[in-house]
Amino acid sequence: MLKNKDLLGIKELSSEEITEILDHAVIMKEIIQKNNKKAPHLQGKTVITLFYENSTRTRLSFELASKYLGANAANVAVGTSSVAKGESLIDTARTIDVMGTDILCIRHSSAGAPHLVARNVEASVINAGDGMNEHPTQALLDAFTMREKKGELGNLKVAIVGDILHSRVVRSNAYLLNKMGAEVTVAGPSTLMPPEIEKLGVKAYTDVEKAIKGADVVMGLRIQLERQKKGLFPSIDEYSDIFGVNEERLKLAKEDAILMHPGPVNRGVEISSSLYHPDKSVIDEQVTNGVAVRMAILYLLSKHHGERSL
């Protein structure tokens, strides 16, 4: 059982809660692999996804996770909803809440948006990514993947490379891996490094090779191509040349190191195209694990909900 009704960030989770989610996800992964992908854990529960930003894998994995566990699942398409008429976030969320929603999965470009919603609805709120703050379910599926491939998280050295400044994935991974005792290094251009990042418990480098050296896990991050237009780096070519993860740089990591990426990948930019292959990286497995981890989270949060007068 998770302590809070909501999953707003890794910041708010204890290491015991993280382990509980990961342990449950092991069983959930078995369900996904069955011929008949159906289990009764969320029967009679309603899960809604409300995404103010584009998404393929996170949104769909929440929906499939809900359906595999027998929930009523629906998505609010923001572009064709009353959001387009200017309805506020709180009013939209309240509207969804009073239709009998048990769990609301929200992605928003503003940091703290899910926290705001959580204070204003009875449903459990899952943060599916808020601005540059957190993406807790991504960090949990990353941890699940690392644990599956490497055993315990405690002794791992994890190197995360790319646009650290704008990345909620980095922040959630840093909080989670710190709580589990792993060592985290980050690397990227100085213009894409948040101030005082080391206070989050990571080592920061601008030299990618230093960060990767001896790592058990190397994680590439998507660079948003628009950042170049804002003057944060001079060109995609230069970025790829200096900060891209390629076969040669990957050799600096441990021999059995795994390569991860939260997706979507800019092939040939942050990682070489040849590395985005099931033999060379675990990117596809991360996606599968994302469904299993979200099944576990939905199930654990659903225990907070019983009868409700509407």
Binding site: A111, A113, M132
Partner: protein, 426 residues
Amino acid sequence: MEYLIKNTVIYNSDKTVKADIYIKDGKIEKIGENLSYENATVVDGSKKIALPGLCDIHCHLRDPGYEYKEDIISGAKSAAAGGFTSIVAMPNTKPVADNKAVIDYINNKAKNACVNVYQAGAITKGLEGKELAEIGEMKKSGIVAVTDDGKPVSDGSMMKKALLYAGMFDLPVIAHEEDMSLVDGGSMNEGYMSTYLGLRGISKAAEEVMVSRDIIIAKSLSEKVHITHISTKGSVELIRQAKKDGVKVTCDTCPHYFSLDETACDGFNTNAKMNPPLRTNEDVEAIIEGLRDGTIDMIATDHAPHHEDEKNCEFDKALNGIIGFETAFALAYDYLVTKNGFSLNKIVELMSRNPSDFIKIEGGEIAEGKVADLILADVENKWTYEAEKSVSKSKNTPYNKFTFGARVTDVFVKGNYIVENCNVKG
């Protein structure tokens, strides 16, 4: 009406005396021991202290245009509750207070306000930073300063013209310092907390670059400039040095910049969102030292009321600012007097004497023959501030439920007893 405040301790900026105060016909008629007047209503001042009425050179009354947040009457009441007898409203109203007609409207409405309401005019038309507003015409209608507050005057040559033109009318120019290219969409201080919360940060350089620009422009012209709501250690250092160099620069800060730091934003607390943003503990300490050594001339509230809906939303969408009248004196008492050893005389200098002199009004002193703008405060009993009970129309404050060691209890404006035992009359 005649009032006789008995057995109180009077704090002026330069001295402290134990005495009675006799108020008649809007003036302080007599100060002395064992006074007795047949027709005077006696006010027991024995457990209280008396200070000249506070003067705030920087507040937002939102009138005309945003009366759902505040208006001149409600704002004046809130000011009174906090011990402010004179306040200066900023011109970022709707329409902007950039012409005589709007100033006349405000002054007319302010006749019914319970404190002395003064208006600042805009520096540029529509606060757009492009053309000078009719500063001379507005001066005739009684403005006490000019400012584009809420926005910087981004164009250096426009600031130069403003200092020259307003200087001709002996009107202070109040500069809101912000380099928008360095603000770059930020919503809180840039540093560890912005990294931790995943919010875009505002570099201290955004303020300091403009502070230095305006010091240099003022120096080059030998004109005066007043820098408002400074928030960083760097700004304090720049102004300290400029004063040593003989530049005619003055400045103010706000209670939140000496009582809170950026950690107040944790949990995406929109009531800690303001502009300039709350900075770090290091800055808070520098602000306090700046107040102590006279680098910072005065304290202003930047009272900035907003409706609940404008704060109960996403942090980066929430509007900047907090209400400030009713907590300002308590914050100065707790954070400057109690925690940092400031004298009450120094608080009078920062919150009454200097701001009154700055806008050239009569207050700032309890003395015979002076206008009876004065307050009584209780510094013996603790008091818990409840935003819900604020007389402002808005409740956006980070200090809700704070317990303070001082409270303004009684207020006289031009001899009228408008706040009696913490109750604002009318």
